[in-house]
């Protein structure tokens, strides 16, 4: 688990400390959003909103001292993304609304990336979200567990299975 507690407490009072916090988490938040939203415009728009929310949350003491800051920050991010999709889609009556950049959004041009995007498309949204939280957001298992309201062991196990699935499929396709 991260231990930014001193910096976070200072960030409630000191704009420089908040700026340091922003610098520390900007890339992780942006990467996560980019992978969820699939384009720079929306990723930037929501990144700005999330850090503004985090700033206000810190100053208004919505964040509990001693809490898990990364989990709190990414819970804001997930709520913002949910709002974004709710607003954009008007709750389509779908069982598993996809939040990846879409059926047809092959994400990059290289063969390997295209192969990976095909494999990721076979995963359900929850597994893709775990991958994003772990690798784009850089969250520890315990932090993901807090976000997901699950045990750390369960998160670790599911992520392991997901990676193993990708490995098996990759090897099957590449001999």
């Amino acid at each position: 688990m991260s231990d930014d507690s001193e910096l976070i407490e200072r960030a409630r009072r000191n704009p420089e400390a908040f700026a340091a916090l922003y610098e520390q988490y900007l890339e992780r938040v942006y990467r996560y959003l980019y992978r969820r939203l699939g384009n720079v415009h929306d990723a930037e728009e929501l990144t700005a909103q999330i850090f503004t929310d985090a700033l206000e949350g810190l100053l208004k003491n919505h964040y509990k001292a001693g809490g898990c800051f990364p989990a709190w920050l990414f819970s804001i991010a997930r709520r913002r993304v949910a709002d974004f999709y709710r607003k954009r889609t008007h709750d389509p009556l779908e069982e598993h609304p996809s939040s990846e950049p879409g059926l047809l959004a092959a994400l990059e041009k290289s063969d390997d990336l295209q192969q990976l995007s095909r494999l990721l498309a076979q995963l359900d949204e929850h597994k893709r979200e775990l991958l994003r939280l772990r690798f784009s957001a850089g969250l520890h298992f315990a932090e993901i567990a807090l976000l997901e309201n699950r045990s750390e062991a369960a998160v670790k196990m599911e992520l392991y299975r997901t990676l193993d699935f990708l490995r098996q499929q990759w090897e099957a396709e590449n001999g």
């Binding site: 409630r12 009072r13 000191n14 704009p15 700026a19 610098e23 900007l26 890339e27 990467r31 992978r35 384009n39 720079v40 990723a43 930037e44 990144t47 850090f51 503004t52 700033l55 206000e56 100053l59 208004k60 003491n61 964040y63 509990k64 001693g66 809490g67 709190w72 819970s75 709002d83 974004f84 607003k87 008007h90 709750d91 009556l93 779908e94 059926l103 047809l104 092959a106 994400l107 990059e108 041009k109 390997d112 990336l113 192969q115 990976l116 095909r118 076979q122 690798f135 784009s136 807090l146 309201n149 196990m157 599911e158 992520l159 392991y160 990676l163 193993d164 990708l166 990759w170 396709e173």
Partner: protein
């Protein structure tokens, strides 16, 4: 890339790393946001400073001092936030207080013992309106001949304050705790003595025990202790081990805060999915509930902001879990050591091999019947279970060291459900399969009926859930260099929508969608009719709306309404601000897919075709090769895509289809969506307005 003990092929490892970590924010964007956040920081602190004060003016002239001033202002701000919370009686993420003054809490627990009885003051809170303590008693009072306990506060000046309310400290158990409430203490009281007096059944004094305690102001960021509930909360009937509880309510002149919780008979139980509540009155009117739960949440407790009530309403709070209705999925951990069975794969298990099994286990109130197992790959074993009664799934485990993962139940269409286990390699020795979680259906309804208090006339300052956003216009992302086809499609969209968006009014549309149903699929249903009423302003922006999804028999599956920046989904209970922005009405179903296809070099087919009604249409299809197999289906999918038919004369997108090709070359239509009606009216039917009017603003 984290390997989690997996050895990943180097190319996959590098690709995953690239995929998930390479996107980086543009430095110019990062710098702009940094500046914006600093400005926002200043804005948030600015209201605490009188800009007209001479001090501020002198600070402007002396920038070297300004930073120090900001620090002081912010340290005051932290206190100010708490002051707001205390005044309100509610602090998001903290809970309820009822006071109007400073909050003092117990500095440290204090104990005293006498003749085998130990009393410990574990919590104490004074919030200006009341003083309450939580006391733990160890030792049997009855052995000392005591039948009653009296309690009072002794202040340093000798004043004695008797208690107002208390739980039962005299029960015949060796250890218990209770909460005692006293009238408010004089402001600033920091030290006092709690006196407990034991009496016989004839109210004769036996002995007294004094416990001095120290109170201190609550610290910044500190959780305000909550008293345990002595009186039963408002709660629903318990069904299948689940109870809906209205844990707390706070009333203000313009809003009401509800703390709602789920209670399970088993500590390892939970709902298998997100839950919500809806609030309605006896007339059927629904009330907007904003979920204002703290960000670091306990999944079984939620906080909602509701409108203020006049006290005459008879309200019903109902648990909803879309799309399950009153039959909700529940999971619970299995602690029963007998919940396991042995499985012998044999010395040379092969992918595709199937084993018939016949094992019956009794788990909780359920019978679990294991009927088979299949090796679906060299490492994945899938067990099949008979779906009996309300048992819908299991999670499996084995202590065999080759285990790498396990998955929960997937219902089949033949009355079975499955649960998989993945191994590094399939064990060749018999091993025990343990059931460590079961999933079942609990049957409601879970409803709480109660009459709220009338909202106080004077505002007490309960915090508003979210600042009302300003209506920034959302700019639709545009492609880097749209093609002539994209321009043509957008031009056709504009052509069709020109009359719809000319002037303020109401747009009424009805769309039908027919879907292929996959095994285990619940939504969307095979036939879905969506009716939409949208009010647009003169610029085409949506101001009010009503969406209704119906099945083929006209039953409402989902209904949601919005008014301004608020929306409520009457079916799922979701409600809140549409925080993002205003948005334009659009009938466009395909431009985004087309843009993505163009951006990514995906093949696009276009041609003129004759539509079903004989009109000339522009037909566009985009598709790409894939390789996956849906659970429970016999064939892999090899290609997926979408196609649209656009009437070239009207510009209307008259049909949208999602399709797939299977391994045998056959085509499968995933869904077909067609508009049945699109019209512009001056006003909708009154019943539409009545429903939208239910979007009560908090």
């Amino acid at each position: 890339m984290d390997k989690m003990d997996l050895t990943m092929p180097p190319e996959l490892d590098a690709t995953l790393t690239h995929f998930y970590t390479v996107p980086k924010p543009d430095p110019a964007f990062a710098a702009r946001l940094d500046v914006d956040l600093r400005r926002r920081f200043d804005e948030l602190s600015a209201p605490k400073v009188d800009p007209r004060s001479p001090l501020m003016r002198s600070l402007r002239a002396r920038p070297a001092l300004a930073f120090l001033f900001v620090l002081v202002a912010l340290s005051l701000l932290v206190g100010a936030v708490y002051a707001v919370g205390r005044l309100s009686g509610f602090i998001p993420g903290f809970g309820f207080t009822s006071g109007t003054a400073d909050v003092y809490v117990l500095d440290q627990p204090m104990s005293a013992s006498l003749d085998g009885i130990t009393l410990t003051v574990e919590k104490a809170v004074h919030d200006g309106s009341r003083f309450w303590v939580q006391v733990r008693r160890v030792g049997l009072l009855e052995e000392r001949g005591a039948a009653y306990v009296d309690s009072s506060v002794l202040l340093p000046d000798g004043e004695k304050i008797p208690y107002q309310m208390a739980g039962n400290l005299e029960s015949g158990v060796p250890e218990t705790q209770m909460t005692i409430e006293y009238p408010p203490l004089p402001a600033g009281t920091e030290s006092l003595t709690l006196r407990f007096t034991f009496m016989t059944s004839g109210y004769e004094l036996l002995q007294s025990m004094d416990i001095p305690i120290v109170l201190r102001p609550i610290r910044s960021g500190e959780l305000i202790p909550m008293p345990p509930t002595e009186t039963p909360s408002l709660q629903s009937e318990t069904h299948d081990g689940l109870t809906l509880v209205l844990e707390d309510v706070a009333f203000d002149s313009d809003k009401t805060i509800l703390q709602v919780g789920l209670r399970f008979d088993s500590p390892d139980a939970g709902l298998a999915g997100d839950w919500n509540v809806v609030l309605s009155d006896e007339t059927g009117k629904s009330y907007l509930l904003l979920d204002i739960s703290p960000d670091v949440r306990d999944g079984d407790t939620k906080l909602f902001q509701a409108p203020a009530f006049d006290g005459s309403e008879m309200l019903t709070l109902s648990l909803v879990m879309f799309p399950y209705g009153e039959d909700v999925p529940v999971y619970t951990g299995v602690a029963d050591e007998s919940a396991h069975f042995s499985f012998a794969p044999g010395s040379d298990p092969q992918p595709g091999q199937h084993w018939d099994l016949d094992e019956t286990l009794n788990i909780a109130d359920f019978q679990l019947h294991v009927v088979g197992a299949s090796l679906i790959s060299s490492t994945e074993l899938v067990f099949e279970f008979e779906q009996v009664d309300d048992l819908t799934g299991v999670m499996l485990f084995t202590s065999n060291s080759l285990l790498r993962g396990s998955g929960g139940g997937i219902p089949n269409q033949n009355g079975l459900f499955t649960a998989g286990m993945t191994f590094e390699s399939i064990p060749v020795q018999p091993f025990d399969v343990e059931i460590n979680r079961i999933y079942y259906t609990a049957h409601g309804p879970w409803q709480i009926r109660w009459q709220p208090e009338a909202a106080p006339v004077q505002a007490s300052g309960l915090p508003t859930a979210t600042p009302f956003p300003t209506g920034a216009v959302y700019a639709t992302p545009t492609m880097g260099s749209p093609s002539s086809l994209s321009y043509q499609v957008q031009a056709l969209v504009q052509k069709f929508e020109a009359s719809l968006l000319q002037g303020a009014g109401w747009i009424h549309s009805v769309t039908v969608q027919e879907s292929h149903m996959h095994p285990g699929q619940i939504l969307p249903p095979p036939y879905l009719v969506t009716e939409l009423w949208v009010e647009v302003d003169a610029d085409g922006y949506v101001t009010r709306s009503l969406y209704t999804d119906r099945d083929e028999n006209g039953n409402v599956l989902q209904q949601s309404a919005s008014a301004g920046n608020y929306s409520i989904n009457f079916t799922t209970g979701d409600a809140g601000y549409n925080e993002y922005s205003r948005y334009l009405f659009s009938t466009d179903l395909f431009s985004q897919d087309l843009a993505q296809a163009e951006e990514n070099g995906i093949p696009i087919q276009q041609e003129e075709r004759t539509c079903d009604d004989g009109s000339v249409c522009l037909f566009i299809a985009v598709s790409e090769a894939v390789s996956f197999q849906n659970p429970g289906e016999s064939q892999a999918t090899t290609e997926v895509g979408r196609r649209v038919w656009i009437n070239l004369e009207t510009g209307q997108q008259v049909k949208l289809q999602a399709f797939a090709y299977l391994a045998d070359g056959s085509e499968q239509i995933e869904f077909t969506r067609e508009p049945l009606l699109v019209e512009k009216l001056d006003s909708p039917p009154q019943d539409v307005l009545d429903i939208i009017a239910q979007v009560e603003m908090p």
